[in-house]
Symmetry: C2
Subunit: 307 residues, 2 copies
């Protein structure tokens, strides 16, 4: 029997990634949409999640709305006994997601806080390769052009939208997956545009034991885009590039595969529901909150969507 899924939010990420992945996932049927402004042909559509839940249109929901409103939506679904899958970041604050995890457990339903970058092709090979090796340093470089990737998305600049940490948290989700031990923030510098409430660039100092872990995030990168994680070890340099889809060892390519991140996520969600389990990992969001907590702040040039 297939799981009847309601998709909540029909913006860029839903159309680019969620719809094709849902269509390709065995055991999952897209049964309804909730969206204020949009609909899909031949599918029941509701203006909001409350009416979708009230109609009994789905056994599970996947939330692709901006993080600022997601807590109330997820709470409503869990309280109604529905399984819930959350886009990253899983909430606006750490406290919100801790409460959702407790609620899911209490209601006996599945909560899945997804981190799509962890499903990139080279992440598990990198984790396996690193597992037996001595690591001496880790360097994250995540530099992209916000105007290209987030055109007109006002919410990313509002409190809770995370600014450059919206992509940066993807890197942190990989780092916390491939390293064996916990990573701690020790300091950060955040660059805030004069007219914005979220940072456009960040430099985060972390450590894993005595091993330095450094991250540079920047949204002002035009030309070539960089999503690299370099791990120096006693037997060579591992480099994950293109957001985790490629793995290189001392500049020799090892894994270079097509993107299948969201298909993996939905396959996992179906499996979690079938097994009566939840998967909630807050480590990436905690690191972002810790970076804001410890940050020195620098004001930089105002940012306008049109250059």
């Amino acid at each position: 029997m297939s799981l009847k899924l309601g998709l909540v939010g029909l913006g860029k990420i839903a159309r680019d990634q969620h719809l094709p992945a849902i269509a390709a996932t065995p055991g999952l049927d897209l049964a309804a949409i909730a969206s204020r402004n949009a609909a899909l042909p031949d599918l029941p559509s509701y203006p909001d999640i409350d009416s979708l839940l009230a109609a009994g249109a789905a056994d599970a929901v996947s939330l692709c709305t901006p993080p600022q409103g997601r807590f109330d939506q997820a709470s409503a679904a869990l309280k109604a006994g529905r399984h819930v899958m959350l886009e990253k970041p899983p909430g606006m604050t750490v406290t919100e997601v801790e409460a959702l995890a407790a609620l899911a457990q209490q209601k006996g339903v599945t909560l899945f806080t997804t981190w799509h970058s962890r499903e990139a092709a080279a992440v598990e090979p990198a984790r396996a390769w690193l597992s037996g090796r001595r690591i001496s340093s880790v360097r994250v470089t995540w530099k992209e052009d916000v105007r290209h990737w987030h055109p007109g998305q006002a919410w990313i600049w509002e409190p809770g939208g995370l600014g450059v940490f919206d992509p940066g948290i993807n890197a942190l989700s990989i780092v916390t997956r491939i390293l064996r031990e916990a990573v701690f923030v020790t300091g950060a510098e955040l660059e805030f545009p004069a007219n914005r409430a979220a940072p456009i660039a960040a430099s985060v100092r972390m450590r894993m034991g005595a091993v330095p872990v450094e991250a540079e995030f920047d949204w002002r990168q035009t030309g070539p885009q960089t999503w690299d994680i370099e791990v120096a070890t006693d037997t060579g340099l591992l480099r994950l590039s293109k957001g985790g889809s490629e793995m290189w060892l001392d500049d020799q390519p090892q894994v270079v595969e097509e993107d299948a991140e969201y298909r993996s996520l939905y396959r996992r969600f179906v499996g979690l529901v079938a097994g009566g389990q939840s998967e909630v990992d807050l480590a990436p969001l905690r690191l972002v909150a810790d970076a804001f907590l410890l940050a020195r702040r620098v004001e930089v040039d105002a940012f306008e969507d049109e250059a």
Copy 2:
């Protein structure tokens, strides 16, 4: 048999509060001190926690050092199989304290993250009185003169020192104790002096379900000092004042008692160790991290220790 305690850090809070409370606690013997600069007559003193641990001078340690260095000290003590009591805040970041909790559990020793304001005389009476009542709003006003209470304490202005949240987290520790449900940050404004890395004032908007919870923290209050929490209910207004030591109902005094916060803490620590238990509550620190994460920042006049 008494628990042999090592006290780490011999600054203002250790002398004002910890030493008298330890002396008054049955089942607890102050056995050694670790401090870079200070010592006590007739007690073994060590320059740092590592030498105190190596000397086998204590079965448990209480850390009163600034939060920025506390993680390594607490980790060293837990790894050496010692019980650990932490001053508030329990660490520089949420991730640090989560890791300490896991380590304590793994080593089978006690970790106690203290929140001294929760031991104030009126906190438990307030919690009991509120438990059957419908709450309509909560208002926290925590305004004090930083020059009077924190003279020359440079660490509170550094990242990890929390600025005005150093006292403010005391209010949040009471709020999260006396209210029945979880409280979430929904927005904040932080005022940073032009020359400092930590806020001198903060306005934090929170909610408990649909109930508004608002907090005003300010370190620029000369004259009368205010540490009040007001809870409006269907049967009247409860006010905790003087940091939780007084409780008023509709302006009638109920509980007005002398301060015994640190004696309660040490009594609890002895009990936790005897019972083989830990007590770790991160809710207040998570709220502070969430406030920094969601905050809009305002730059205000530079702050100098000498007015």
